[in-house]
Assembly symmetry: C2
Homo-oligomer: 231 residues x 2
């Protein structure tokens, strides 16, 4: 379902010329549904009821919303996670899927425990994600993406990095105006160069408390904190 | 270290007659340190510098605070968790220890996957907690407590129960005025009678998002949400 920003979520939403053009570019027709969001965290489903040059009307469709929402977060959440040794990633992928990750980006990091992942292992992780999505009644199976070097990775929206000693809280950044990526490093932690590279590009370091977490626990704490906000 | 409530955390805290009497009851002497907290979530360490009938002065001791704090939550957090089949509890105990649980109370629930735990298995869980406490640099090893029936369990302070469909958020209840217990059920969920019993006794149902979580993931999401607040 396409996503269309509206000035305000209402039972009846009248769009001006720019937004109407956007609907036309999407080749939407009267009767079709789109996800509507106000950019401030509220979202729903709107059904297109009028469409003419320069003007369109969407009406809230609460029934479609209930089924469209499924169990997904308001904006997609990517988990960017360092490659880990042995079978640890299987547990991470399974729980991350339950906890709402829409995408799992594997990372090669400076202090990595592992620098590559076999094709068979990647296939297995994808099967685990698919099975976990089914069991947790999600409508989306997170894509498990082949590893990239951390300092070559790319993201849209907000990037939050679990970092020992950080003061900011993940809940300070959950306005859902943009996609979200949460990143956690390998057992040895991120290198100073990696942290500097990320923060220069606008990443926010967030706390996971004063204890030392294993590399396979940190991603679940990050995603658990989001889920515990009701998302 | 004793805990003393103060009107407000400050570099110099002057206590009136009631609070001074409390210090005297604790037999504190000038030069000794106490934990001070304001009942609204802020806490620190104060050193007693003046003590006379009806009046006492505490001065913040930031150095003592850093070492006293260790990696513990402001109030002890108990994880009350249903018995689970197989080796699932081992993973829960390990991660719960990293995430700051001070006590792990095992529960026998109506829809339990398991109704008892062998002595050897309990010993093993305790060993796992001890090892995880060491690795996560905690000063406290959580006690793993033999199972009790949920409807006979007892708790001090606030009880938060992970429950599908709940609207309240765990972060709404983290004022740290009292010990905290977070409870999560077995794979089949809590029974209606159990939920009613808990809520009649003041338990608060909290959300972990709209997805179905496995019984071994929910406790980590609860504790992860607390850790992500910096505790």
């Amino acid at each position: 379902m396409h996503r269309v920003q509206v000035p305000e979520l209402a039972e009846r939403m009248v769009l001006g010329p720019q937004d109407t053009r956007h609907l036309q570019v999407l080749r939407l027709r009267v009767g079709e549904c789109v996800q509507v969001f106000d950019g401030r965290g509220a979202q729903g489903v709107g059904r297109l009821t009028e469409l003419e040059p320069g003007r369109a009307v969407l009406e809230r469709d609460h029934q479609a919303q209930a089924s469209a929402r499924g169990a997904e977060t308001p904006q997609p959440v990517t988990l960017a996670v360092a490659l880990l040794k042995g079978d640890k990633l299987a547990d991470v992928v399974r729980a991350a899927t339950e906890l709402g990750a829409a995408r799992i980006q594997l990372l090669v990091t400076a202090h990595a425990e592992a620098r590559e992942i076999g094709a068979q292992k990647l296939v297995r992780l994808r099967r685990i994600a698919s099975e976990a999505a089914r069991q947790s009644e999600r409508s989306v199976t997170p894509e498990v993406v082949e590893p990239v070097r951390l300092m070559e990775c790319d993201w849209q929206g907000t990037l939050l990095v679990a970092h020992p000693g950080a003061q900011a809280r993940i809940t300070d950044f959950l306005s859902w105006e943009a996609p979200l990526t949460v990143l956690s490093g390998p057992e040895g932690g991120l290198s100073e160069a990696e942290v500097a590279w990320l923060t220069e590009r606008g990443a926010q370091a967030v706390t996971l408390g004063p204890r030392i977490l294993r590399a396979e626990t940190a991603p679940l704490a990050l995603l658990g904190a989001i889920a515990a906000q009701g998302q």
